[in-house]
């Protein structure tokens, strides 16, 4: 044999592997027996409301906090016994800004590269490379305190990549950014995985973020993982799409539609009909055809696809939105505003 077959167990080895990882603070369990595996090269999302334990979970994985019990490996290194190996393997963008505002963008990156042991000869090349990637090369000699929130985030992402980490942790990467900048950051994150093959673990309480970026999502609440799968699978598990049809005689339409392929269930209200269907967009023309054939007047049809918020609602009885409209968020915004005004 010319080639030795690769050991499949190495290929399959998860880059992040936690077993019953737990963190308690004075009686409160912030992370409760979390066991999960993140595969090489995937974008993995932790979705949950503020205070669900996402940041604490990440803090343990990046060796900033010691777990109360349980264990975890990052890139094969144990977080408790081999913290230096773990630290060398990862890059992180913290939820709160961690840049030195008195330094320029270049100086921030240079300091970071030095801390990660990158030799002088390689530092400049890598710094320019990552600055170009986040389109900040023209501002490299400006003080960070003159940067906008979005620029700071981009700079932090660049910094997290300078030492070519195996895993990049992003803790609420778009918190407090305007929608346009948020989209922009999403593009960078997708590009990172495509071009560098880096594994990304991100936390978020924005469903759209988890939905559009992540290969797999773990929904976390009160420190526990309550569901874990691809976003589409999580949504599908709720039983498909809903069609809301308004018409004067819903009972007639329901009778005609009964038993048709793709229609799972129906509920009749006063002047409307709710249908549980598979692939709702394909059902709309069918419904219209049948209504036409039965000479039934239809006023409107609307399609509702389940969101991750519906998944969260399904498992917890609450929505993430409700949770997030709490004081913690606005508090954070105030802090940020205050820092910027300084």
């Amino acid at each position: 044999m010319l080639f030795k077959p690769l050991n499949p167990s190495i290929l399959a080895m998860p880059i992040i592997d936690t077993k019953l990882l737990t963190k308690k603070f004075n009686g409160l369990t912030a992370v409760d027996k979390v066991s999960l595996q993140v595969k090489k090269g995937e974008i993995f999302g932790l979705l949950g409301p503020n205070g669900a334990g996402k940041t604490t979970f990440i803090s343990m994985l990046v060796t900033m906090k010691r777990p109360t019990s349980g264990e975890a490996k990052v890139n094969g290194f144990d977080i408790a016994s081999e913290p230096m190996g773990v630290r060398k393997s990862l890059g992180i963008v913290f939820q709160d800004q961690a840049l030195d505002e008195e330094l320029t963008a270049y100086e921030n990156l240079d300091l970071h590269a030095a801390l990660y042991g990158i030799p002088r000869a390689k530092r400049e090349k890598r710094i320019l490379e990552v600055l170009e990637m986040v389109e900040l090369d023209s501002r490299k000699n400006d003080l960070v305190k003159t940067f906008s929130g979005g620029m700071r985030r981009r700079l932090e992402i660049a910094r997290g990549l300078i030492h070519y980490p195996k895993v990049l942790f992003l803790d609420e990467p778009t918190l407090g950014l305007d929608p346009q900048t948020r989209k922009h950051i999403w593009e960078y994150i997708s590009k990172l995985r495509k071009e560098h093959g880096v594994t990304i673990l991100l936390t978020t309480h924005y469903m759209e973020e988890a939905n559009s970026l992540c290969d797999r999502v773990a929904i976390i609440d009160h420190g526990k993982i309550i569901a874990l799968d691809a976003p589409s699978a999580l949504k599908d598990s709720l039983g498909g799409d809903t069609l809301l049809i308004e018409c004067p005689h819903p009972e007639k339409l329901a009778k005609l539609l009964k038993g048709k392929k793709g229609i799972k269930d129906s509920r009749i209200h006063d002047h409307s009909l709710t249908l549980m269907v598979e692939r709702g967009e394909k059902q709309i023309p069918l419904v219209m055809q049948i209504a036409d054939g039965g000479k039934i007047e239809v006023t409107s049809i609307s399609l509702h696809k389940p969101t991750l918020d519906d998944v969260f609602l399904h498992y917890t009885g609450r929505t993430i939105r409700e949770e997030t409209a709490s004081g913690a968020d606005s508090m954070k915004m105030h802090m940020r505003a205050w820092r910027k005004s300084k």
Partner: protein, 252 residues
């Protein structure tokens, strides 16, 4: 090891870059000691009889004022770690693959260097005011200043390691920095003090720092130079070990 040295060097450099960018802080930190020197030097010095055998009062307090510059600058630059803690930058260093001891060393050496630079600026101001600064003692003077500064930066880092935010700073100012300064013999000889206060002032490490500075500048001192240096080196070792120990325990 090489990587640790590189980290120490860059953390040191960071302190210097920040120092040279904040001109207003330099002026601010030199203003109070300078006013002390001028007001007390002329005010109290003017009340004293002119005696050609002993140095005049302005010359006498010059080493004390220098000690004040070092004490304030270095303790402050240690406690400023709190700002890094509050404003997030500390996390960036804490997750880096660098030992915490190196982080403390880089910070302490950087803070001490900026404190010594402020000390040198103060020496320059003193020369402008006509105080005699023997240039040949400059190397020993800088060495003593550095020794004093590293110790107090480390003390500052140790304090910052268990403080949550800057609210306690006023307490430290009133109950640590000012007593350390006033009891150090910076402004008056310790001989005339009541025994209890005299005893406390002998516990003040800055007493030996000011004494060593005075020996270097005026050629006279209260204690033997070996005692001064012994206490300063001992204090340096104790504070850096405590700082490194407390800093290692920080969890974010």
């Amino acid at each position: 090891m090489n990587q640790e040295l590189q980290a120490i060097y860059f953390l040191w450099k960071r302190e210097l870059i920040r120092f040279f960018r904040s001109k207003s802080r330099i002026v601010g930190s030199l203003a109070m000691p300078f006013f002390f020197l001028v007001m007390l030097g002329f005010g109290i010095g003017g009340m004293m009889p002119v005696d050609t055998n002993t140095p005049n009062y302005m010359d006498y307090i010059a080493p004390g004022i220098l000690g004040m510059v070092l004490l304030f600058a270095s303790l402050f630059s240690g406690i400023i770690v709190l700002m890094d803690k509050q404003f997030g930058f500390l996390k960036e260093t804490l997750v880096a693959p660098v030992s915490r001891v190196s982080i403390v060393l880089g910070k302490a050496l950087g803070g001490a260097t900026t404190a010594v630079l402020q000390g040198i600026l103060m020496l320059f101001l003193m020369m402008l005011m006509g105080i005699n600064i023997p240039l040949e003692s400059l190397p020993s003077l800088i060495a003593i200043m550095f020794l004093i500064s590293i110790s107090f930066v480390s003390l500052g880092i140790a304090i910052a390691s268990f403080m949550e935010d800057m609210h306690g700073f006023q307490l430290i100012m009133n109950f640590l920095i000012f007593p350390l300064f006033f009891l150090s013999g910076a402004l008056f000889p310790l001989d005339g003090l009541p025994p209890i206060i005299k005893f406390i002032s002998y516990l003040d490490p800055l007493t030996y720092g000011v004494d060593a500075l005075r020996l270097s500048l005026l050629g006279t001192s209260q204690f033997h130079v070996a005692l001064d240096m012994g206490v300063l080196v001992g204090f340096l070792i104790v504070t850096t070990v405590i700082a490194a120990y407390l800093f290692r325990r920080i969890e974010s």
